[in-house]
């Protein structure tokens, strides 16, 4: 029996959550390494060089942010951050320091599994859509021809709207912050940039036929950014 498994490093001080997540991933065929403090996490990271890191922002000894910087200074390992629901600024801070994604506690196990799989796929550059097309729930994007159809109907998008959609699709499963999207599409952020982005997203949603609350294609993380779901394999 081969022991060729993906390695996940979990940094979480709560024993209950740690145990539950360990069970979840071990039964999913991953090797799980646990750390309770940032100091332990750094040590384990150096010895195992995991494929994915799951980090609780509220670790006791050191700010979780410091650990993100530690990892980023050495590797491009995907980091998924766990945070309490109300820490909006922490989330954005973590993402801008280099974390790839975040999940708010309490989280569903299916959600966490999906995010980890997406993170691994990103790392392997197996992002669906880095090729010529992207397909999700009836929406098809052809990157070569810059066309979008929903249930076979052509959708007319402006240049900005298409660029935003394509950016999200190429990074499917990953959360992109307002700043990331604005910098990619418009090059720089002025004080009106977020409003402009939100107007574009509203128009995009309307054109794609999704009413507010319908997260079939684009998922809106209030106050932080947007993501497109990872198409299930």
């Amino acid at each position: 029996m081969s022991n060729n498994k993906y390695k996940i490093l979990i940094c979480e001080d709560d024993m209950g959550i740690r145990g539950a997540v360990r069970t979840l991933f071990e039964s999913g065929g991953y090797q799980v390494i646990c750390a309770e403090t940032c100091r332990d996490a750094e040590r384990e990271f150096d010895s195992y060089i995991p494929d994915v890191v799951i980090l609780d922002l509220g670790l006791p000894d050191m700010d979780g942010m410091e650990f993100i910087k530690y990892v980023r200074s050495r590797q491009t390992t995907p980091i998924i951050v766990l945070s309490a629901r109300s820490d909006e600024r922490d989330k954005v801070g973590a993402l801008e320091l280099g974390a790839n994604d975040y999940i708010t506690k309490p989280f569903g196990t299916a959600e966490l599994l999906a995010r980890v799989r997406a993170a691994i796929r990103t790392m392997n550059n197996l992002v669906i859509g880095s090729g010529q097309s992207f397909s999700l729930n009836g929406m098809e994007i052809d990157f070569d021809r810059r066309t979008v159809t929903v249930n076979e109907n052509d959708i007319k998008l402006t240049q900005n709207e298409y660029n935003i959609l394509a950016l999200l699709a190429r990074n499917s499963g990953r959360l992109l912050t307002y700043t990331e999207i604005i910098n990619t599409i418009w090059g720089k952020a002025d004080f009106n940039a977020v409003k402009k982005l939100q107007v574009n997203m509203a128009n995009l949603r309307k054109k794609l036929g999704t009413k507010p609350g319908d997260h079939r294609f684009i998922i809106n993380e209030l106050g932080v950014g947007y993501r497109i779901q990872d198409p299930v394999n």
Binding site: S86, K196, A202, G213, I219, N220, L222, G223
Partner: protein, 364 residues
């Protein structure tokens, strides 16, 4: 440098107090002259000065100004009465008058200062009491779901083999639901703590209404897919200066309240309408309507609720949760956005919760 700023503020305050004191005392002086020359009233000066010192005590921030004015008034009286008189018209009464003015004015001054301090203390203790009330209400709310979780998990442990897999699954589902409720309550509790800092500075950035509704509706539909819910929002892009996460919490609270407390509800509507200047948010249900008594326990300072009143109100509410906490938090958040959360029973039955926020312009 903040120290310079603080010193400047202090200096300006002292200046203001001196100006007020000088203004009052000078007015008193001239009023006395006026009375002396224009009327036949005699020896009114002591009373006028006593009044003046009283006003100084009321209008200034510290005991010092009143005391100084008192000394100044007494000295002035001394100069008016005693000094020039020396032999003629010198009476013991005058000396007494001056002493009385001095003592009385110092006492009035002290009393005024004490009253002011006492009022401030009362306000602080009122806040403390409100916080204690909220803590009591929250802890009270926590007991029920915690008991349920304890009982469910104990049952599974004790009678594991005697139960069918379906029964065990049922109990585990219950545990999950109750835990979810606890999380919501805790989030609300944390929000209350944030809100009750006296000078809460909300980070208000212009947010698109569309985004707010999209996120809130998605979350609501995920948790309550069977609820007959609909919404109406303006077609055009609308922006409001707000803390989007908090506003989302407010809307979620109002919607959840309807789900749990509007008995017999067949339709729940979130309606948002915008004029050029403001945006009106309404949560409308057609359920059983509100009871007559006040429903904002935390926000109602005049009617301080005792533990018995809280318990009684709780018992009269069917449904899992005390509506009060969610409403208190929502009310506080709306207030911090310069709005006011109100509720009314509808003509055709049911309730509407509503508030208005200022609209932000957006130039493309």
């Amino acid at each position: 440098m903040p120290l310079v700023g603080v010193l400047m503020k202090l200096f300006l305050r002292i200046l203001k107090n001196i100006a007020v004191t000088a203004a009052i005392m000078t007015s008193a002086y001239y009023i006395n002259i006026l009375i002396e020359t224009a009327t036949s009233f005699k020896r009114v000066e002591p009373m006028i000065y006593l009044l003046a010192v009283f006003f100084v005590a009321v209008c200034t921030d510290s005991f010092v100004y009143g005391a100084v004015s008192s000394v100044a008034a007494s000295l002035t009286l001394f100069i008016i009465y005693i000094q020039p008189a020396s032999v003629i018209g010198f009476t013991f009464n005058l000396v007494l008058a001056i002493i009385i003015v001095f003592v009385a004015s110092i006492m009035v001054c002290a009393l005024t200062v004490y009253i002011k301090r006492d009022k401030k203390l009362k306000r602080i203790t009122a806040n403390e009491r409100m916080r204690a009330d909220l803590m009591r209400a929250i802890s009270h709310d926590l007991r029920t779901p915690l008991t349920s979780i304890y009982v469910s998990s104990s049952t599974i442990l004790d009678s594991y083999h005697a139960m069918t897999p379906e029964q065990r699954l049922e109990l585990v589902k219950d545990i999950k639901n109750e835990a979810n409720d606890l999380i919501r309550m805790t989030e609300n509790g944390l929000l209350i703590a944030r809100m009750s800092d006296d000078k809460v500075k909300l980070a208000r950035t212009a947010g698109a209404l569309d985004e707010l509704i999209d996120a809130t509706v998605a979350k609501f539909k995920k948790h309550y897919p069977d609820c007959p819910f609909d919404f109406e929002i303006p077609d055009e892009p609308v922006f409001v200066a707000m803390d989007a996460m908090l506003m989302s919490q407010v809307l979620s609270n109002l919607l959840e309240n309807a789900v749990f407390h509007a008995k017999g509800m067949t339709k729940l509507l979130l309606r948002i309408s915008a004029t050029e200047r403001d945006v009106l948010f309404e949560v409308i249900d057609d359920g059983c309507g509100l009871p007559k008594e006040g429903i904002f326990p935390g926000a109602d300072r005049k009617k301080r609720r005792t533990q018995k009143e809280v318990d009684d109100a709780d018992r009269s509410q069917s449904g899992r949760h005390n509506m009060g906490i969610g409403l208190s938090v929502s009310s506080a958040i709306v207030k911090a956005h310069d709005g006011e959360l109100k509720a009314e029973n509808n003509e055709k039955g049911g309730t509407t919760f509503y508030f208005k926020l200022t609209r932000e312009a957006f130039d493309e």
